[in-house]
């Protein structure tokens, strides 16, 4: 049991490390200019020159997938940060104060949760003009309820614990109690939530870009590449396969990591 969860986590970490490295490398180097077209050399099958082949405008798919992985990680990181910060403020306030504050805040979170995620993101992106920044904010907002709930339940669990009551009795401020005494105990569920939110964020970004509401042309995004490739699926299957496999791998990586972490935590408690 122990070894299985560690294995899961390690596998997840390995996948993320691989993709993360690719995203990091793309900051410095990509084999071809991602937007350089070569109409004569379009829809080439994978080969030594173009590892993943070329797309309908003769752009190198490997370079574009690399560049898109950077976007995906950026969206994931920003969205998780937004979700975490807002979720912490809401969750901690609700959990720490309890009573009607908790009722009001959590009902708001419930309302947000009840609303279909993609639809909410679609509305947010449509109201403002579609671009990467709006997408990140929309996805961040989507992940708020998840964090708020995890953090709130953590506070509920620990706010009446003896060490917290003792700290308060000794005259510690609210901030000290929250940050020094409660937080350390709920870090691991937050990490699990963050890992899973990360994968959701990447998926939602792909979905929005697929629908034309995320990353805008000519810049590459896995979702956009999928939507561009669909007309050529019979003729150039590698065009759709490359972004599809990368989306699946990233999501798998973060989910394995999250699951492994959670299992480890469950063992300890």
């Amino acid at each position: 049991m122990e070894s299985k969860s560690t294995l899961t986590m390690r596998l997840g970490l390995a996948i993320i490390a691989l993709l993360g490295t690719m995203a990091a490398v793309s900051l410095l180097y990509v084999p071809y200019d991602v937007n350089e077209m070569n109409i004569a050399g379009r829809l080439q099958s994978p080969g030594a020159l173009h590892w993943f082949g070329t797309d309908n405008f003769g752009r190198d798919i490997f370079s574009r997938v690399m560049e898109a992985s950077k976007t995906a990680f950026l969206v994931g990181a920003v969205a998780v940060t937004i979700g975490l910060v807002a979720g912490f403020i809401i969750g901690a306030t609700a959990g720490y104060l309890g009573g009607w504050t908790d009722e009001v805040l959590m009902r708001m979170i419930d309302a947000l949760l009840a609303f279909p995620g993609i639809l909410l993101a679609l509305i947010l992106v449509t109201v403002f003009e579609p671009n990467l920044f709006q997408t990140m904010i929309a996805i961040g907002v989507l992940s708020v309820p998840n964090f708020a709930r995890v953090i709130r339940s953590g506070f509920f669990q620990y706010k009446e614990a003896e060490f917290v009551v003792a700290a308060r009795g000794l005259g510690a401020s609210h901030a000290t109690v929250i940050l020094r005494h409660v937080m350390p105990h709920i870090v691991s569920p937050i990490i699990v939530a963050a890992s899973l939110s990360f994968s959701t964020a990447i998926l939602v970004e792909a979905a929005l870009s697929y629908l034309g509401l995320g990353v805008q042309p000519p810049d590459p995004s896995w979702g956009r590449m999928l939507s561009e490739s669909q007309s050529y699926i019979g003729k150039a299957p590698w065009f759709a396969l490359a972004p599809g496999v990368f989306i699946a791998l990233t999501v798998l990586g973060f989910n394995l990591l999250g699951d492994g972490l959670r299992d480890l935590r469950d063992k300890k408690t």
Binding site: N35, E36, M37, I39, A40, R42, N56, F57, G58, E129, P130, L196, S199, T200, L203, A206, A207, Y210, G212, Q216, P217, P218, G223, L226, S227, E228, S229, Q230, S231, Y232, I233, G234, K235, A240, G244, I247, A248, V251, L252, N255, G258, D259, R262, D263, D266
Partner: protein, 536 residues
């Protein structure tokens, strides 16, 4: 422990949901089609296939078989069955087979007498006299009389109501029927293009059920209509042209989704698939044939002449030199398009001014030189707004942006919703540059009037007194040759002034079963089934 078990189940389910979602997303790439509809622009980002630019029917080895049924795929429901109320192109596409006017357009866009047998236009251009063809019958068996024409065209002109149903009939003051076979139409003002308006449908006098059970004089008669499913037509055995139509029954099947339509066609459920994506033509087997040809659509890259730097003709010319149209046609339309040089497609045969397509040859150095002369040696930045529902225009924008970057023009692509495009750009003229396709009309005046300085549709912000004067002169010019020459001058002026970048007329593809013959492609949004027949 119990809780964590629960949680783990919950998480696992979430997990599989996410994975399934990824799969679905990947599959969507395979399954979902681009559903771009409103105007007849090519619907997909990709083109490919048979570059046979002939609109003529492909010769068939087999001999002609009379009769039979045909299923044609159409993407949308008709808006009105009443031909005088219908405005959607998708409606005329179907009802072209049911209704006829005094005149009818052919596949070259020329008018020929239909219900009329002959006509005469008075020298002042204000009186039109038509002799009706004898033996033309409505689908209810009654023969067409001058009173029916009078009723139909007065209804269109709004003689009783004061509100014309069709703008082209606004100048009609009276429709007279001196005898059963003669119709005289009187106009307020001379309008050389009025004949095109007379392709409008003639319906029986005082017939009130046109919107539920339309009756016309065309080669096919209306049978039934099931909204969202199909509209069926049957052969009009009393049609005045011998041997036309050949088919017994035509069903227009309404399938809005391109992908579903393609599957229906491939499985043999349908026989004719108009506007099929070029890349799909290649996927079809030997039992199918494709017909491709220009569709009278002018795809343009427009810049706002009222704004800097496009107020300078040198900048506009530089942009024209920087755009490689051949590469655009190859890259976006997979070679299936014809290069343009001004705002008229070669399919408008007699009015088309030849030789303008290479007026601005692709020349990066020349473009740079012109930019430097205009004071933009380092280039400039511009926002290119494209309607996001047209994958074809978005793809064009991507390639054009790439080409313009080579002369130092930095293009930011801004995809906008179709509704926003219409409101902000088409009506509001609030944009820097955009790419769009203008669909064709039979009358070149209706195509070029967007450039009139006082036209509300002048999104180019083109302002030229010579142009206004010349275009207005075409309205009253009765001499066809002189009128044609004026239209040619106008095209040359637009090219010289670089009023826009005229890119291409992308081919329209129609896929048919191999043993169908006689299909004709029109420079109009219609499917003419009167000449289609089965072979063995």
């Amino acid at each position: 422990m119990k809780q964590s078990w629960h949680e783990s189940i919950y998480q696992n389910r979430r997990w599989s949901t996410i994975l399934i979602f990824t799969l679905i997303l990947t599959l969507l790439a395979a399954c979902s089609g681009n559903s771009n509809s409103p105007t007849p622009a090519p619907s997909s980002s990709a083109q490919g296939g048979e570059p046979s630019p002939s609109a003529a029917p492909t010769p068939e080895p087999g001999s002609k078989l009379d009769g039979g049924d045909v299923v044609v795929i159409v993407p949308q429901d008709p808006d009105y069955l009443d031909p005088h109320l219908a405005v959607a192109a998708g409606t005329s596409e179907i009802m072209f087979n049911v209704f006829e006017g005094l005149l009818k357009p052919n596949e070259k866009g020329q008018l020929y007498p239909a219900i009329a047998e002959s006509y005469e236009v008075a020298p002042d251009g204000l009186t039109y006299t038509f002799k009706l063809r004898s033996g033309v019958q409505f689908h209810n068996g009654e023969s067409v009389k001058a009173a029916d024409v009078k009723y139909s065209y007065e209804r269109l002109a709004g003689i009783d109501t004061g509100k014309p149903l069709q703008a082209s009939f606004a100048s009609v003051t009276a429709v007279e029927a001196p005898d059963e076979a003669t119709v005289v139409i009187k106009l307020k003002e001379n309008n050389a293009a009025f004949l095109t308006a007379l392709t409008a449908a003639v319906i029986p006098k005082d017939y009130a059920d046109s919107n539920t059970k339309p009756i016309g004089t065309g080669p096919f008669k209306f049978v039934d209509y099931l909204p969202g499913q199909r509209l069926t037509l049957a052969k009009n055995p009393a049609y005045y042209v011998n041997g036309v139509p050949s088919l017994d029954k035509v069903e227009f099947r309404i399938i809005p989704d391109q992908e579903a339509a393609f599957l229906a066609f491939k499985s043999g459920e349908a026989d004719i698939f108009p506007r099929i994506g070029t890349e799909k033509l290649e996927e079809l087997g030997d039992e199918f044939q494709g017909v491709s040809g220009p569709q009278n659509l002018v795809q343009v890259l427009i810049y706002n002449i009222a704004k800097k730097p496009f107020d300078d003709v040198r900048v506009r010319q530089a942009v024209n030199h920087a755009i490689n149209k051949d590469e655009l046609i190859e890259g976006v339309a997979l070679g299936n398009g014809i290069k343009l040089g001004s705002h008229l497609s070669p399919i408008m045969a007699q009015y088309f001014q030849e030789g303008l397509e290479d007026y601005y040859a692709y020349d990066v150095e020349k473009a740079k030189g012109l930019l430097a002369e205009a004071g933009y040696a380092d280039g400039f930045s511009v926002k290119l707004s494209v309607p996001s529902n047209y994958a074809f225009h978005v793809a064009t924008a991507e390639v054009a942006a790439q080409q313009l970057s080579k002369v130092g023009i930095k293009v930011t692509i801004e995809p906008v919703e179709w509704a926003v495009w219409l409101e902000r750009i088409y009506k509001g003229h609030d944009y820097e540059s955009t790419i769009i396709g203008f669909d064709g009309k039979l009358n070149p005046y209706d195509i070029l009037n967007k450039y009139l300085s006082d036209s509300p549709n002048n999104l180019f912000k083109y302002n030229s007194p010579t142009f206004d004067e010349t275009l207005r002169a075409t309205v009253t010019e009765i001499d066809q040759e002189k009128r044609t020459a004026l239209f040619k001058d106008l095209q040359t002026e637009l090219a010289k002034e670089a009023a826009a970048v005229y890119i291409m007329d992308p081919y329209l593809n129609v896929a048919l079963k191999k043993n169908l013959a006689g299909y004709k492609q029109y420079p109009l949004y219609v499917q003419d089934l009167s000449t289609v027949y089965w072979t063995n």
